[in-house]
Subunit: 238 residues, 2 copies
Amino acid sequence: MKHATGPAIHAVHPWDPGNPEKGARHQLLSDDERAKLAKIAQIVRFAKGQEIYGEGAVADAAFNIIDGVVVAYRAEHVISFLHPGDLFGLSEEGQYANATRAATPVTAYKMPLAALRRILANNADLDVNLIIKLCEELREAQRHAVLLAQKRAATRLAMFLGLQEHLQAARGESISEIHLQMDRSSIAAYLGLTTAALSRAFRALISRKIIASRNLHFVKVVDRDAFVRLADASPDGN
Amino acid sequence: MKHATGPAIHAVHPWDPGNPEKGARHQLLSDDERAKLAKIAQIVRFAKGQEIYGEGAVADAAFNIIDGVVVAYRAEHVISFLHPGDLFGLSEEGQYANATRAATPVTAYKMPLAALRRILANNADLDVNLIIKLCEELREAQRHAVLLAQKRAATRLAMFLGLQEHLQAARGESISEIHLQMDRSSIAAYLGLTTAALSRAFRALISRKIIASRNLHFVKVVDRDAFVRLADASPDGN
DNA sequence: CGCTCGCTTGAAAAATATCAAAATCTGTGG
DNA sequence: CCACAGATTTTGATATTTTTCAAGCGAGCG
């Protein structure tokens, strides 16, 4: 079982131009590092919809997702969706900068921040890995901003689906369908739309035969050209 | 002259709850570290409007702003405004993830990435400082996303002005007026609006007597209550 | 098997995008 | 220091698009 070894942090390496397939994510930690972290970590579970911590709560632990999807939000707006291999609860000491909630049943490692920092202080490699991970989060936050700057709902949705597909590929999963594990209201909050507008955007893409969906959680890109035309943040017309 | 000492990285410390005034930014580097960086840095200047590097260009150097404002953009959308004490051009090796352009005349340190990484590898403290800086950038990118998720133009503008004011305060400058160094089209691109909509948003805030401005670059908050009511990402009504 | 919660749909109102023209600003050169 | 030309910003009138508010559906759950 891959989960038995301890926390795993996955990210696309920002240096190392010579990595196998571009965009592929790597496990950043060595077995040794994972073992060290495992010593201070405990495995915790959250039910779907359960709050993990609130905005502004005193931050005492970081989490590393083993399985499931977590939603990070702030002031009613979804900031990011976190997946297995992601780290969260970090980078704010004192208090958490945003709230988090389980979008699906979640299993995660929970690591006390104090112990974590102690390990980081004595381990330059971990430091670097943390930097890599932060860079990845930063890139993603910026992609989110570009998405949100789009003016048309259908464009935002297409970009979002493109991001999801991309993430799925980076995780090594199949791309034949895009799997949306979160509910519509979370997606709407991520896209800066009302659920009504999101629903209509889905309908627009479907009726234009750009995507198809067999249920709320699975979407398939039918017309790749049109999809890319929409999703690639075309600076021009649309 | 404070600039004679070498690169300076400013950030709000994420740990250290016990810092003097909350929100105040600190110089992260020791004199020794600055001296080390100074050895590999050269001072460069850019004219207003000049491109510093293009999106996707081969990344060979990082920059640290001494004076002026830089705009980072991607696909026609402004991702961030960078100020003195900020670092950019980092975190992408291989190629720059976004383009940058001088919004005002800019003076900066230019540091070859290769040399920079060599220094980082041998200096755990610098590592930590880099982490702190990345956390700050991440927080800011997330704030940007929250801003963009707002549906009303006036709300986005008010939040933007609030952010600018906050940054100004963190830099220790006066807050009696908000100084907008960039042009309207950059602000519009940052807010995900057209310049026309941005102009009307300004007008709306002015006619509602929430702000006043003596020219394009200086804005004053007149009705603080109304301003805060708008800018504080009110999850509720508006 | 009924019920709740979440998603979809409708119709009307509000807001922004568009496109184009007028006003202002900037900085350049006389 | 002033005048001018180009560029930026503002304003107007319309067309789109999204939000709102509310009612209908449907799927999943107890």
